[in-house]
């Protein structure tokens, strides 16, 4: 099923809260903006992943918790966590 922007933000908040071991109330929505990503892995490829080299439109979701910033990337097909402790994750 296609992911909406609102769905993506909701899932991102839940994921970050779980990773950090905090309540979702402690996750702040910093910015959600439309963005063009360099490829169909949204510029956040995971290990051993080959991605189509086509510019892909989606949303950049910036969340904050305890003063730290976190970036999620999404489009209607997928949600990814970008550069979290040096690695990308596909959710």
């Amino acid at each position: 099923m296609a992911l909406s922007k609102e769905d993506a933000v909701k899932r991102a908040r839940a994921d970050l809260a779980q990773r950090l071991g905090v309540s979702e109330d402690n996750i702040e929505e910093d910015a959600v903006e439309s963005a063009d990503f360099p490829d169909m892995a949204l510029g956040a490829p995971i290990e051993d992943e080959m991605s189509a080299q086509m510019i892909a439109s989606g949303w950049r979701i910036r969340l904050k918790s305890s003063g730290q910033s976190y970036e999620y990337r999404a489009n209607r097909d997928q949600l990814r966590l970008y550069n979290y402790k040096g690695a990308n994750y596909r959710l």
Binding site: M40, E49, M50, Q53, M54, D77
Partner: protein, 463 residues
Amino acid sequence: MNRQNFLGHLMLALALIALAAFAGQMRRWQHRSHAVLRGDRHTTIAPRRVEPTASAEVLVRFRPGTTVESMRSIAARLHDRLEDEIEAVDGLAVIEDEDGRTAEEVAAEYRSMPSLVEYAEPNFRINLDTDATAEPNHEHPDDPMFDEQWSLDNHGQNGGKTLADISAVRAWAKTTGSSEVVVAVIDSGVDYTHQDLMNNIWVRPPDVAQYTDDELGVIDDTYGFNAVSDNGDPMDQNGHGTHCAGIIGAEGGNHLGIAGVNWKVEIMPLKFIDASGSGTTKDAIKAINYVIDRKRAGVNVRIISASWGSTMYSKALEDVIREAGEEGILFIAASGNSSADADKSPHYPASYDLPNVISVAALNRQDELASFSNYGAKRVHIAAPGAEILSTWLNGDFREASGTSMATPEVAGVAALVLSAESELSMKELRERLLKSVDKLDSLSGKVSSGGRINAARAVGAE
């Protein structure tokens, strides 16, 4: 009206009809000659058919200052005759062969004397063709969206730069492709039911056995291979592979949609990328392995188009691509969309230093390196249009997309076009031909090793 008056009126009417007909023909001649003088690529003198003249004639331009006597003497030495000197152009003459050679042979003979001859080309007779069986007009296919395909024919539409294209229209005067050439599109599969693709989709010939893999068993690969599901259905669920396939070979001249670089070709669909646009190295290797197997089984698959990649190096992927090269398969790959110098930050498979790999950068419609495109004076070899490219999409649709993904099939398409005219070329010769046929661009100096944009017309020998 008496008989004398009637005859007088009849003579007058006949004279007026003849005068009108002559005036009309004069206007048509004028229109044609003006079009030729302007070099107007959009003037339609169609449908038309181009064929060599009966006795071999060649247009030769001798170096400035060559006298008519010298021209005559050179021609006589080569058993030819100076038929006419074109006074309006210094040194230009029509040479007629007198010893039974073809126009191409005669032209080649003059071209082999560059100190005396600037250029030499066969003379062609151009016939107006009015019957229904005439060959299609190669200047402008009748595909209704063709005018939006700036990569094939950029005449400045939508703010583009005139002639910032791959010179497809001029290439089509020589060849529009061949269903004898098979191009493997390793991607998200292809919508092989798309109306603008279905006639150019490879179908396993009856004399080629079904694909058999030690682990997977026998697979009915009628339309190709799906490495994600390990079956013979490479239907696209993403759209990316269908887009790439259309750039290479959407059927041309079919009154529908767009024209591919090849109007006729065989697209072998392979799927290793899922609906979201990504796949694994392992599945990419399985897909390449399938192509090698089909080549060994007798399928004339000469090119792999690979519009995907990663910054992660895989020795196994490198090895299987090398093996494809051993089988004579050219591997054309996207340089990547990170605006990065691929010489310093490699992007695989495009960055593998293998003799069968061509790495492709993307250009925009102004002939500039696209803002997203990777580059590299050593490891990126050639550039092609890759921004706002219109092609086929899922559900019979068409849409624009950007990326080195789109530039890659432009090059793969030209490679197929070359093979349609010169099937005997080796993989090495084909690769060299593509890289030596470029239009050098200032914007690409130090950015790609060939320094230029692919030129289909030059690659197929149409100019």
